[in-house]
């Protein structure tokens, strides 16, 4: 076997080469994700149960406030099932964005001392969150069982919907991780913007509650498609083509722009962090 020849130059490495290198070292993604999960729940009494407790508690609170006090109607779906089926994908995307945007900062000690494909870090952040999301889905299944909500054939679309959510969060995460290398301001902006964004996404209220003229704006929100898609897959709601298309378009756009920003940042990350 011929020895690999690597040329180190100031030029950006072409995308195919970058992705090939990532594929070659893909095991690192698993190791980083597994390290984060192990470290996060190490020395906790409840361990991974924490991933379940949080959405469960949130569901109870939202059900009390929105269903009992404000009387938000989720039509034929029981409200707790409705709200949890929105909260889980939202949490997956929001947490993924937060973690992946901080992934370079969090691993800066490693970045300065060893080379490995830098893309592995934001991707591992999304994978970590996906594992926690899968654990939390157990609660949703329990709730569906309790309220006798049966899944439909749409369930087959679940992987595609999760991929969509992962695409949106990785795209934004890459963009922010790149920006974070130079301007830490991004860290502060993210938490605040995510809160605003949550309110503008039909999570605790159905889209139909929004006055007709504004619905189109909300459907262009990339998260509307992700949340709606998840509800389609699990609860069998009619899919919203416009919202899904908007989500997919945004995911692609974010991945391209975020990827470009990230690639420029990763070359100097070791110098800036």
């Amino acid at each position: 076997m011929a020895a690999p020849v690597v040329e180190l130059t100031p030029a950006l490495r072409p995308w195919p080469e970058t992705l090939r290198a990532l594929w070659h070292r893909r095991e690192i993604i698993g190791y980083l994700a597994w390290r984060d999960i192990r470290a996060r729940y190490h020395q906790t009494v409840l361990g991974a149960t924490w991933a379940i407790v949080q959405p469960l508690a949130a569901t109870v609170i939202f059900a009390l406030v929105f269903e009992r006090l404000i009387k938000v109607s989720s039509k034929d779906t029981p409200y707790p099932v409705f709200v949890l089926s929105g909260l889980l994908p939202w949490q997956f995307v929001a947490t993924s964005i937060q973690r992946s945007s901080l992934s370079l900062l969090a691993n800066s000690a490693m970045i300065k001392k060893v080379y490995f494909p830098r893309l592995a870090m934001p991707i591992a952040a999304v994978v970590t969150t996906l594992v926690e999301f899968a654990a939390a889905c157990v609660v949703l299944l329990g709730l569906m069982l309790y309220y006798r909500v049966a899944p439909t054939a749409w369930l087959l679309l679940l992987p595609a919907m999760m991929l969509l959510g992962a695409g949106v969060s990785l795209g934004i995460g890459l963009l922010l991780a790149g920006v974070n290398c130079r301007f830490r301001d991004a860290t502060h902006a993210v938490a605040f913007l995510l809160q605003m964004w949550m309110l503008l996404t039909p999570i605790v209220y159905p889209l139909s509650l929004v006055p007709e003229p504004y619905q189109l704006y909300l459907r262009c929100n990339p998260m509307t498609g992700v949340i709606g898609g998840f509800r389609t897959a699990l609860l069998g709601q009619e899919p919203d083509g416009t919202a899904l298309a908007a989500s997919a378009a945004f995911a692609a756009l974010f991945l391209v722009v975020g990827g470009a920003v990230f690639r420029r940042a990763e070359r100097v990350a070791a110098d800036l962090l």
Binding site: A3, V5, L8, T9, I28, K113, V114, Y115, F116
Partner: protein, 418 residues
């Protein structure tokens, strides 16, 4: 096979240091920092060299000369600003021992994580796992979180992983010079094994003693430029010659230093017997040096060290304040420290001095001015017999008493009690 393993062509690396912002400025005053106004620092400038397969190349130079930057570029950690490097073969680079070690993970888990980061596949680590563990001598602790390991155990485990890397090209920083003597010996052994297995090694070290045994050829970097490239001894001679050959040295702008910055060694004077500044001492003559240290904050019982290095970079003389019971108490502000050696027994030649200010445990270096002065030992007449000491045969003049008697014929016993 005749193609070089590493080709470096006019490699340059620029760091942009943002201009310091005026203290207490409004947020508007930070904008220029973002937009521009930065200082350029060329950590590497037009560096070119080649390394043949199987060659062991030493990289020497003072702190800040660009050695670490060179290794970072060659490892792919950071990209060059201009120029290029071509590397033929799989690179295993080791700039730090235990990169990515997580205190909450077990020894076993950390071996896999660290190995993966250094470029090993899971199958490769599994295959070598037992060898790694026995090399590290940590059997029986593998499933405990490594935060319960002693530092020594962590170091051994980390080095064991690194010692089992398979790349054709090894890029190693002097990170390895930590640990106790036995551990260091193990590191050197492993590097010698890498050399004899025909691998290409690029090795940065301050410990020239280590380099001498392993390295045939060396390059010397100075302020980012390649200053010499050739046989180790020759290049090291150049390195030594670049020391400052003066008796009074202002160290405030001295770049080759280390430490936390909690103290600053500001100046050094070498004094002759009459109190005159001179950096020439005859063999067996007195050495008197005085340096000023300024502390940026209060430090309890700071320690001072002066070391004298041979032309080969070996530490020969280790003078420490505590050897003489020096106690400063709670130090703040500036101090002049005087060190007097009654009779310096070094053989004639040129030597380098390094100064340290450390905390009370010597573990934390507050400041270190490395190889900041040249000391010239002139041929004197320590024997009083007009004999020239030849540095080829020894390093230290140690006064000794000699006597002789014939062994051929037993001497008559002297009468007892006579």
């Amino acid at each position: 096979m005749s193609e070089p393993a590493v080709v470096v062509e006019r490699l340059s690396k620029r760091y942009r240091i943002p201009a310091a912002r005026a203290a207490g400025g409004s947020w508007l005053s930070r904008v220029p920092k973002v937009v521009g106004r930065s200082q350029d620092l060329w950590a590497l400038r037009d560096v070119s060299f080649k390394v043949a397969p199987g060659e062991v190349l030493g990289i020497i130079g003072r702190n800040g000369a660009g050695k670490s930057t060179l290794l970072k570029v060659l490892s792919g950690i950071t990209s060059p600003t201009c120029g290029r490097a071509v590397i033929r073969g799989r690179v295993s680079s080791l700039l730090e021992v235990g990169t990515g070690f997580h205190p909450d993970l077990t020894g076993r888990e950390n071996v896999y994580l660290n190995g993966a980061l250094l470029g090993m596949s899971r199958a490769e680590i599994r295959r070598k796992f037992d060898a790694i563990v026995s090399f590290a001598e940590v059997e029986g602790f593998l499933d405990a979180p490594i935060k319960h390991f002693s530092t020594g155990m962590q170091m051994r485990l980390a080095f064991a992983v690194a010692a089992h890397l398979e790349g054709e090209i090894l890029v190693i920083d002097e990170a390895l010079s930590v640990g106790d003597a036995a551990f260091q010996a193990k590191c050197v052994e492993a590097m010698a094994a890498a050399r004899s297995s025909g691998r290409t090694v690029l090795l940065v070290s301050h410990n020239i003693g280590v380099l001498r045994g392993l390295v045939g050829r060396a390059i010397l970097l100075n302020e980012g430029r390649l200053e010499a490239d050739g046989p180790m001894q020759e290049v090291f001679g150049r390195y030594m010659a670049s020391g400052q050959d003066v008796a009074e040295i202002d160290l405030r702008g001295y770049a080759h230093r280390d430490g936390t910055g909690e103290a600053r060694i500001e100046r050094l004077v070498l004094l002759g017997p009459a109190g005159n500044p001179t950096n020439h001492v005859p063999v067996g003559g007195p050495l008197h040096l005085r340096f000023r240290v300024r502390f940026a904050r209060v430090i309890g019982e700071p320690q001072f060290i002066v070391r004298i290095y041979s032309p080969e970079g070996e530490a020969l003389v280790d003078l420490q304040g505590r050897h003489d019971g020096l106690s400063v108490g709670r130090a703040s502000g500036a101090y002049d420290v005087d060190v007097r050696v009654e009779s310096l027994g070094l053989y004639p030649g040129r030597y380098l001095l390094s100064l340290w200010a450390c905390d009370r445990t010597l573990r934390r270096v507050l400041d270190c001015a490395e190889h900041c002065a040249t000391l010239v030992v002139d041929p004197g007449d320590p024997t009083g017999r007009g004999i020239r000491l030849n540095p080829q045969f020894g390093r230290f003049f140690v006064p000794s008493r000699w006597s002789v008697r014939t062994a051929d014929r037993p001497r008559p016993l002297e009468p007892v009690g006579a």
